[in-house]
């Protein structure tokens, strides 16, 4: 009975500790994410939000020193980044990478077909893929010209973020982690990004939104809000926590954490 219930939890992060360049950044994090949920991870700069995203996506520069990450019953930390992606994990980058000479079409066609192959599906033909692409382009209101260029090359900040959501829409992940997708966006771009996330939402997928500000959460309503501070989750509550943070800032969290620290 217990096992059964565990299986319905998509992602279990347990006592996770991780270091970058020998410095401990994550100091014991536990989070559980169920299908259909949207989690928001908030916190001041330097609290470890992006490091947590990097651990889930599989970046090598982060060294996991303790704890476990279980995704759909499997040890996620043993999986190569591309295998995590094939199993349905998607990371929306805080700073999407420019790849000169690799076209968006070729990049995403390769990615989509790799994932199809993994699922035992036939690869999409060039024309099928282009059709899929033009459907999804509308969803995120991305300029057609951008899709014909090299990956992110010469894109504005807003275009790069929209492009992340565009890629997400093509890959239809089970678990999406959006790392500061709202940073540097104007209100129109923010609305488009949020719309994309909401439209891709299904009962069987989950989203982790990492953000510094509450404003994205006006558009994407989270089920659970975690506050990350100094490598630890210091508070977990419902969507009202985000509003409280917006009103009071992070200082009250910092103060209460410092006060409760064993001396």
């Amino acid at each position: 009975m217990k096992d059964n219930r565990n299986n319905t939890i998509m992602l279990i992060i347990k006592d996770l500790k991780a270091a970058v360049g020998g410095k401990t950044i994550l100091k014991g994090i536990s989070i559980e994410v169920k299908p259909g949920e949207i989690h928001a991870i908030m916190g001041p700069n330097g609290s470890g939000k992006s490091t947590l995203a990097a651990v889930i996506a599989g970046r090598e520069f982060v060294e996991v020193t303790e704890g476990t990450v279980t995704y759909e019953g499997r040890n996620l930390l043993d999986m190569a980044p591309e295998d995590r992606a094939k199993e349905g994990i998607f990371l929306g980058f805080q700073y999407p990478i420019e790849i000169p000479g690799v076209s968006m079409v070729n990049f995403m066609k390769t990615a989509v077909n790799e994932q199809r192959k993994h699922k035992g599906l036939e690869p999409l033909s060039a024309s099928e893929f282009l059709k899929l692409m033009s459907e999804k382009k509308e969803l995120v209101e991305i300029n057609s010209a951008l899709a014909n260029r090299s990956v992110n090359e010469g894109f504005s900040g807003g275009e790069k973020k929209k492009n992340e959501i565009f890629q997400m829409s093509l890959l239809e992940p089970k678990l999406a982690i959006l790392d500061e997708t709202d940073s540097g966006l104007d209100i129109d771009a923010l609305r488009i990004v949020a719309n994309g996330v909401n439209m891709l939402k299904r009962a069987d997928n989950a989203t982790i939104v990492i953000t510094h500000y509450q404003r994205l959460l006006d558009y994407i309503i989270p089920d659970v809000v975690h506050v990350l501070y100094d490598g630890r989750i210091v508070k977990t509550a419902g969507k009202e926590l985000a509003i409280e943070l917006e009103a009071k800032g992070y200082d009250w969290i910092k103060q209460s954490v410092e006060k409760n620290k064993p001396s």
């Binding site: 996506a57 599989g58 970046r59 090598e60 190569a80 980044p81 591309e82 995590r84 992606a85 094939k86 998607f90 990371l91 980058f93 999407p96 990478i97 420019e98 790849i99 000169p100 000479g101 690799v102 070729n106 990049f107 995403m108 390769t110 990615a111 790799e114 994932q115 993994h118 090299s150 990956v151 890629q167 890959l171």
Partner: protein
């Protein structure tokens, strides 16, 4: 030092012993250059690493070796070459073969050309059209003092001659396939001359191949005259085996408002040294020099590019890129020389290289000499690794590491390939480069010639 003298004496002896035969089998015009050239060679010799221009390339292992020299072609060799004649079905070109540097007598399909266009053997042309060739042969070396250019002038007898008369643009590209094949180690030197008159145009494709598993040394000189408002596109694909050394010297002389694009793609070869000289001798001339090389094992690829801005309002652009794997080494030397009257010059240069291993090595050296004050010049060079962030980005979308690496390398290389103007050729090069990057290049699809792997 002793080795050096020994080398130089060896090639001088080779000249002295064979000059009679060479001259008898050559044209008087070409012979008239030999004496000065061998005198020049005696002064300069085979370049060593003490020579600034050859600082990064050690030619000694290639020149300090006994080769059979091939001065007079045997008709039976031409018959052998026929078996290898190119069968390019979807690339529509005028096709011709140089076999060990000699123009095949049966390159017959291009003899009938309209409007005074000539494509033929340089040796024959120098006999039959001497008054045409005398104006150009040996005229574009600009006092070049490379011992290997002297050696070529002293001993070469044949090669390709192309003449495009005023106002004519050739309807399809000319493809020259250089085949090197012998039962013994062999040295060959050939000489090409291309004249593109005023308002004329031509696209030239040159493919370099080796067909037998012997040690080969090729030292080739090409002179190109591009008249006023004419255009010349040259695309060179080098695909030789690891026991082959290819040294090319290409002198491109440009008149007013002419346009030149050179693409030099080195896919394979033991040692490759390309010297490319662009001389902008008239206002409004535009020159683009692109290069890409992919090297692995113990291969060494050295591109030496020089652009001379002599007149005002000319533009030039150099873009050379290299991918070096295993123990491969490479060098790039990009020279921009802006003469004092060449105001409003725009001259750009970029060299980017990727090292895939710790053992691979690249030397890159920009050389800008600017004597005019109103110019725009820039240069940039990088030697680095593949971008780890880009690699992770691709993996995070589900692309396997090996494929992601290939896509990144290909993207890097494509920046050069995309400048090829003939669409079908661009696609062909994309395919070849991809095969090369995958380590699957056993056959150049452009030529359908099976190159033995060594």
């Amino acid at each position: 030092m002793n080795d050096l003298h020994k080398n130089n004496d060896h090639y001088l002896n080779l000249y002295n012993i064979n000059i009679k035969r060479i001259s008898e089998n050559s044209a008087p015009l070409i012979n008239s250059f030999r004496k000065d050239a061998i005198a020049g060679f005696m002064k300069t010799g085979i370049p060593t690493r003490r020579n600034e221009a050859y600082k990064y390339t050690n030619l000694d292992p290639w020149f300090n070796h006994e080769y059979k020299s091939y001065f007079i072609p045997d008709e039976s060799d031409f018959a052998k070459a026929e078996e290898f004649s190119c069968d390019v079905t979807d690339l529509d070109v005028y096709n011709l073969i140089l076999y060990n540097g000699f123009y095949l007598t049966n390159n017959g399909n291009i003899s009938e050309l309209p409007g005074g266009i000539q494509i033929s053997s340089l040796k024959e042309a120098a006999k039959e059209s001497e008054d045409l060739i005398v104006k150009h042969y040996g005229q574009y070396l600009n006092g070049n003092n490379d011992g290997l250019v002297h050696l070529n002038t002293a001993m070469a007898t044949d090669g390709v001659f192309i003449y495009i008369p005023e106002g004519i643009t050739l309807d399809k590209p000319v493809q020259v396939v250089n085949l090197v094949q012998a039962d013994e180690d062999m040295l060959s030197q050939h000489r090409n001359l291309i004249i593109v008159e005023k308002n004329a145009g031509i696209t030239l494709i040159v493919c370099d191949h080796t067909l037998s598993p012997k040690k080969f040394l090729t030292n080739a000189v090409t002179e190109v005259y591009v008249g006023e408002n004419a255009h010349f596109d040259i695309m060179r694909v080098q695909n030789e085996h690891n026991d082959a050394c290819k040294i090319t010297h290409t002198f491109i002389h440009q008149e007013k408002n002419s346009r030149v694009t050179s693409n030099n793609i080195t896919l394979h070869g033991g040692l490759v040294r390309n010297n490319i000289y662009h001389y902008l001798n008239g206002e409004g001339a535009d020159s683009n020099s692109y290069g890409l090389f992919l090297a692995d094992k113990w291969q060494h690829v050295d591109n030496y590019v020089s652009v001379d801005h002599v007149f005002p309002n000319c533009s030039s652009n150099q873009l050379f890129k290299g991918v070096l794997d295993e123990m491969a080494t490479g060098a790039f030397n990009g020279k921009i020389y802006v003469h004092k009257d060449a105001q409003k010059t725009m001259a750009y240069q970029r060299n980017n290289n990727i090292l895939l291993t710790d053992d691979a090595k690249m030397d890159t050296r920009p050389q800008l000499e600017i004597y005019a004050d109103d110019v725009k010049c820039s240069h940039g060079a990088t030697v680095g690794r593949l971008d780890d962030d880009a690699l992770f980005y691709m993996q995070s979308r589900g692309i396997n590491k090996r494929d992601a690496l290939l896509m990144l390398m290909f993207g890097f290389a494509h920046e050069v390939i995309r400048n090829i103007k003939v669409k079908a050729l661009e696609e062909r090069m994309d395919t070849l480069v991809m095969q090369r990057l995958k380590g699957e290049l056993t056959q150049c699809a452009l030529c359908k010639v099976r190159c033995p792997k060594i």
